[in-house]
């Protein structure tokens, strides 16, 4: 089961910080981040890739699910 983080409606840079905290608490656990702004998708993707994670993005009616794993 991935660690699910609901960062919908959070303003910049909170979604990235929430993702960062999840990575630091358990680096190998898959993380699923929910966001609702494209800018948050870009920021988290850039951050996670920089940390060596793989990121897949699913879009559904203006909301995005980012699946992040090592």
């Amino acid at each position: 089961m991935p660690n699910v983080i609901d960062a919908r409606g959070r303003s910049c840079p909170e979604p990235v910080i929430m993702t960062k905290n999840a990575m630091e608490s358990n680096p190998s656990e898959p993380i699923q981040v929910l966001v609702d702004a494209h800018v948050a998708v870009e920021n988290i993707k850039r951050f996670a890739k920089g940390k060596g994670y793989k990121v897949e993005v699913e879009e559904n009616a203006g909301e995005y699910t980012l699946n992040i794993r090592k």
Binding site: R10, V16, K20, H38, V39, F47
Partner: protein, 364 residues
């Protein structure tokens, strides 16, 4: 194209436009200044009566319309709001007081530096310290809460305000004030300012460049993405100034246009602006762009900035080339205390809620 190069070019276009607006008539080292321009607009609307800084700056209208159009085109436009609006209003209010004691928003700080004004270097140090302080709260769980979807019309208010301002600018009714001397009287032609402003607004929307975000991300997550944009603004503005505005290029602390060499208050003013920018999630220009793409919280922040700018002149807080006022010094100190109290209480409450949540899970 390489990501860094793309950001550098986006920033570079903004730097070039800054130099062009200076060349074509904007005040010294003020090709673009978001704080000063909102202050001028507040004056034009009669919210303050400092006669030398009253004008409806077409650049601001351009930023809003440019960002609005691009956000509609790329699907970023979304009417949202409801994340601690009153706190955001006052963060915007104190942000601009810090900026007007320094004499410029963070973007103008970069443009001032690119025209040789070393006082901006002191301001930059203060800004970095302010950002560092703000980050300490972010790390400890600072949040202004979630925004939620708002009625669509809410998102159209900023562009409508921009159109109304444009009408006031062109028609100039009796109740609108335009400076006849001083910085408010120094203007690039309306159409040029409007078009270049729209280009800047569009680029900022697309690139998401933010002066606070650039330095914050370096300190917080060691990400230089936005910094490349800031570097682009600085480098291209410097080169363009040396070509287009060579006569006004002046390396040093003294005799800089619309600036003062009082180091401690250049520093402290930008500390306040830096803290507020991080607590708001973006610098004044970024708030303007967000407000234009449907973010009502950023819209409230822009109102806070405009009203704060009016108070800065009504209460004699804003600096001038003659120096810093005593009222301005007191306001910066009060501002720093107020925003730290806000941040501290927000963090404390967020941590308490987290603790209760964890205990709730444990007891379940």
């Amino acid at each position: 194209m390489n990501d860094k190069r793309k950001m550098f070019i986006y920033g570079g276009i903004i730097g070039l436009i800054g130099a062009l607006l200076l060349k074509f008539g904007n005040p010294g080292n003020m090709g673009i200044c978001v704080a000063c321009f909102y202050r001028d607009i507040a004056g034009a609307l009669g919210l303050h009566r400092a006669e030398i800084v009253q004008y409806i700056r077409p650049e601001i209208i351009g930023f809003i319309l440019g960002a609005f159009i691009i956000s509609i085109a790329n699907g970023d436009f979304k009417s949202r709001g409801g994340s601690s609006p009153l706190i955001r209003f006052f963060l915007g209010f104190f942000l601009v007081i810090g900026a007007l004691v320094f004499l410029g928003c963070p973007l103008r700080m970069i443009l001032r530096l690119a025209n040789g004004d070393l006082n901006a270097l002191i301001g930059l140090l203060g800004y970095l310290v302010g950002i560092f302080i703000g980050i300490q709260f972010l790390k400890r769980g600072y949040t202004l809460g979630r925004n939620i979807e708002q009625p669509k019309f809410s998102g159209y208010i900023m562009p409508i305000v921009a159109i109304v301002l444009l009408i006031f600018l062109i028609v100039k009714p009796d109740f609108i004030f335009f400076s006849e001397e001083g910085p408010g009287s120094m203007r690039a032609p309306i159409l040029l300012s409007l078009i270049l402003g729209m280009i800047v607004g569009g680029i900022l929307q697309k690139s998401r460049i933010c002066t606070a975000g650039a330095f914050r991300d370096i300190m917080l997550i060691k990400d230089y993405h936005f910094f490349w944009g800031i570097l682009g603004i600085f480098v291209v503005n410097l080169i363009a100034n040396l070509i287009l505005n060579f006569d006004t290029f002046n390396l040093g602390f003294e005799n800089q246009p619309v600036a003062h060499p009082v180091h401690i208050w250049n520093f402290m003013g930008m500390v306040l602006t830096g803290i507020c920018s991080v607590l708001l999630g973006g610098c004044p220009v970024r708030q303007t762009i967000l407000a234009s793409e449907g973010d009502a919280d950023a819209g409230i922040t822009v109102l806070g900035i405009t009203i704060g700018a009016a108070f800065a002149h009504n209460f004699g807080l804003a600096s001038s080339p003659k120096g810093v006022t005593n009222n301005g010094k007191v306001a910066v100190i009060i501002g720093i205390i107020v925003v730290l109290v806000i941040a501290y209480s927000v963090v404390k409450e967020a941590n308490l809620k987290n603790k209760q949540k964890k205990e709730g899970v444990r007891n379940a």
